[in-house]
Symmetry: C3
Subunit: 429 residues, 3 copies
């Protein structure tokens, strides 16, 4: 085993957590309250709770186990995923809650915790776990902590812009969750990895092992199963509005579920075919990751009437593109600009999210305006593109800044990771 870095967790990590927790609990006492209990608490539970739990399975089991594929970083994958998701969730209650309810929209004086906000916070943690996938194994726990802490306010700001200001279609978070999380993490990785030799595909520890790959499939398959719940979590109609709702509103959750399911099924097919074609054999990395590209690519367009064939075609395309990304683009970026991407989030989340943003915009051209947030499909397309560009801008700028601060400025005085410590959780466990 590796020598432990014992003082470092005591002097950097633990004080950071204690300080953050103290601030969070103080702000909770001062700024939060339950939703108006009397009126609709039970209704909220019936409407949202099942979806909330499904999303939680994706965040904590799905992402946590998906990243256990590394022989020497499985403790780190599942545990840091657990810790960081919990941290981001609590922080997001304050940040997203304040953004949505206090600064904009309702202008309340207190943040009301309701089921829909909790789903949004789980989404934010999901975005963080995508970013984590780009830096896992290369950052110390303290660096992970502060990088993901810093992601939350940017997430809240970007979500407000995309959903409320630009009124982009993004029910399943293709833009605000996947596109944002992937490029935030990749930008941070670019900064952090600069100091590290062998931080990429040439490091032998940065690869799977037989039993670890089976653990990883637990993550993959739960993500696959619950993805329709993810995309459709917030798409239901409130009980009170069920008679006055438009057809589009009444069918949004059904469409989100069916479109996402068909897209995922299509991606599974195309990934197995593409993986066999490009490699001559099946590659577990492709199976674990690219099969899920169908869910990413459908997040923005899922509430539209794409037709079942259209949804299936999106998935077939997304799966193939993602597999090709793993096979060709990822080694290219690794070699040329030294872009470390431990879990390949660029191929699973980044590129499919670009595809999905465009799919939603182009599909909007043929939709009845009830299904859109803008008056015409052409306007909607324009705002989809704008949302995507702004999201990438905030994500990349924020990730570069965050990565720079934790690695070059290094306020917690973590030693730089030595070569044998890369992709190995031994120093911390």
């Amino acid at each position: 085993g590796l020598p432990p870095r014992e003082p470092q967790l005591r002097t950097g990590f633990a004080p950071s957590v204690i300080a953050i927790a103290a601030v969070i609990v103080g702000l909770f006492f001062g700024l939060t309250q339950y939703t108006e209990l009397a009126e609709n608490a039970q209704e909220q539970v019936e409407r949202y709770y099942k979806y909330f739990i499904d999303v939680q399975v994706m965040i904590f089991i799905g992402f946590g186990f998906l990243m256990t594929f590394m022989r020497r970083y499985s403790y780190g994958a599942v545990s840091l995923n657990y810790f960081a998701s919990a941290l981001m969730f609590l922080e997001a209650i304050l940040m997203i809650g304040a953004t949505q309810q206090v600064f904009w929209n309702y202008h309340r004086t207190k943040i009301q915790i309701d089921m829909a906000l909790l789903i949004d916070c789980a989404f934010c943690a999901g975005s963080g776990m995508i970013a984590f996938g780009a830096i896992i194994g290369k950052a110390t726990p303290t660096q992970v902590l502060w990088l993901l802490f810093w992601q939350v306010p940017l997430y809240a700001l970007n979500q407000q812009l995309v959903i409320h200001t630009f009124k982009a279609l993004d029910m399943g978070g293709t833009i605000v969750i996947h596109l944002f999380g992937a490029y935030y993490g990749l930008a941070a990785s670019l900064m952090i990895s600069r100091k590290q030799p062998l931080h990429g595909l040439d490091n032998p520890k940065n690869s799977g092992a037989y039993l670890n790959d089976i653990f990883s499939m637990i993550g993959t398959i739960f993500l696959f199963i619950y993805w329709p719940s993810f995309n459709g979590a917030l798409a239901s109609v409130a009980y009170a509005n069920q008679t006055s709702a438009t057809y589009a509103e009444k069918s949004a959750q059904f469409l989100a579920i069916v479109n996402t399911l068909l897209s995922l099924l299509g991606a599974v097919l195309s990934v197995f075919a593409t993986s066999a074609l490009v490699g001559g054999r099946f590659n577990m990395v492709h199976i674990q990751n690219s099969t899920l590209a169908g869910g990413v690519a459908m997040g923005a367009a899922c509430t539209l009437r794409l037709t079942p064939g259209g949804a299936l075609a999106v998935g077939l395309g997304a799966g193939a593109i993602s597999t090709l990304g793993f096979q060709y683009l990822m080694p290219f970026l690794d070699r040329t600009i030294g872009l470390g991407d431990t879990c390949g989030v660029h191929n699973l989340h980044g590129i499919p999210a670009i595809v999905g943003t465009l799919v939603a915009g182009l599909a909007a051209l043929g939709q009845h305006s009830d299904y859109l947030e803008h008056d015409t499909g052409r306007q909607q397309l324009g705002y989809q593109v704008l949302a995507g560009v702004v999201t990438m801008g905030i994500a990349i700028a924020g990730g570069l800044l965050g990565g720079f601060v934790v690695s070059w400025f290094n306020p917690c005085r973590d030693e730089t990771m030595a070569l044998p410590e890369l992709f190995d959780d031994g120093p911390w466990w």
Copy 2:
């Protein structure tokens, strides 16, 4: 490791998938549409979605991990389960959709995709994964692909006969899913295995290993937990009919859940006792598989008023019979007729499904006619037996034919599997 069979996935598997996917997506564009969205899409989600997801967990996690017990075929188990289930699901939308809605019953011109159809398609994939359990490790991926592709139209035809023509009781699919899937797979296995030495219990790779067996228990326990959802998935009353429904209709889902649960709990008890008795120690194969026989045996009878004691007794019996099947019948069939059955689906699905078919028929004799599909219990018993016999006939004939085509006719020109390749996914991964 084993030498890869690199050209073969490129020349056989990938082109097969691409051709099938092209046909499927074309037919989707031409033949399918969403259910009537305006009227009841949200209601369908509320009524069925939870059950659909539970069934998906069973198909993709349950069957996928149940089959990971082999030390050298865990990649193959969980991945081919994933791929083939997705393929069968999509194909089933077309095949079952056309059978139920176009050829028979509604005589629509388009297949309407609704939540109940999606559950039926997941059931069909489940039937395929049962068949897969009989041939896993002995067939190339291309052979698996075409065998399971061929199972779908037969499944759709048989389901139409059993449910709509014979009006057999089969809410949980004892007949159409388990009986059909098991004998289809066993018949195919008989054909495929003929050319292979050491394709059965005498092959040392055809057995569990400590950690693999724990992975397998993930499958077992999720199947156990969600089985009541499986049997009761389609048993609820539509909202619109809730006042006019009979007592039997209003209680069908409750009965399916409680009867299935009690039967499963009974099976767990009897399996541990029987396993200890026959072997002197606990056998993981029995625990992983036979405890689930309670769910199989209750699939046809679950909506009847069996009394709680009756449901428990069925499970106690089914668990014991299944364990005895693993211990005595399986080696006997392996030795005498060379029936390879990698996962023992004959003992988990085949025999318990025969038991379950008879349980439903005999229990029908004492039920009020509201609970039956025919006027008298005696008629119902007759049709149960007829449904079982027809199902076994179609399954065995279809499986023999399919197995013959992929192994002896061998259109994709796969080489015969060599001895070290049996129960080893090394050539493909």
Copy 3:
């Protein structure tokens, strides 16, 4: 491998199971019936079924996998958890059913099986699995069987006293499930372990291994995700009462979910910080167990208006206390009184349950009486303490007696476990 104990399962375990199963099935035929099907069976399914299944995931996957951390006792952990939970579930239908419906309250002549009773029975099995965690690896399967068999009537009696006689607040079972289960198991362990050298922390087999610890995290994270369902399972308002219910009743399930979630998230934060502080590195035992203390500590108080900050603070405290218990109290009790506690249930369930009992009592002081079971908070506090004391008394007395009978009286004539057999499932598998 270890030599098998072949005759012993045949002569002790199997006959015990057969005898118990025979009695249970007989009593089922004589004493049980379905709930009144006509009136509300479908409503019960809609109200409770999702929560029932979530609890089942916790019992069978959660506890089952949490205990797989031992390198040589993973078969035993997941399998005996499966068997014993099924046994206790069936027994609990009779014992809890008779206690609640026949002896007290309704004075029916038959036990009616409804969804709420099934949830109660799953809770009882959960209590048993907590107790199992204290003795796992040190008791033979036959001893486990009889110890947990004997726990059920005591559980039913204690639940009746705590909930119906004392009217304690305990929606999530802090008192009746966790406090009771932990001290029952610990008392039994004290008896059983007396005869065994190296039954505690000094036995090298009583510790985790890398891949086993990842399996254990499957249990942890599913317990974490579904815990809000556990605490809130029985907190919903019946459909028929939704207009006449008080605000407190209408908000109970929402509060249970949100308070439990926040408490768990807080515990995750404090456990990682505390673990790093006390050990200098992260300890998987802390992560696997203490992060869940937030759910235990919130079980009694979850339906109160604690404020979000209060719920978070409870979790932060419970996580830290539990971690300190693992680090300091557990080795102390191991050394001084020889208290073997294989899974550390004292730290995860025992102490956090004491905390949670007091939290509920103290929080009651500031609540509107609608949220209480007694007229004033002061009375409620008194009855909470009384319930806790009585529960610990019954649990400890019952556990000592049960442990004494199975180990010293030893009716099934199991040989005492030899040193190499401790924490090793080899003799039985």
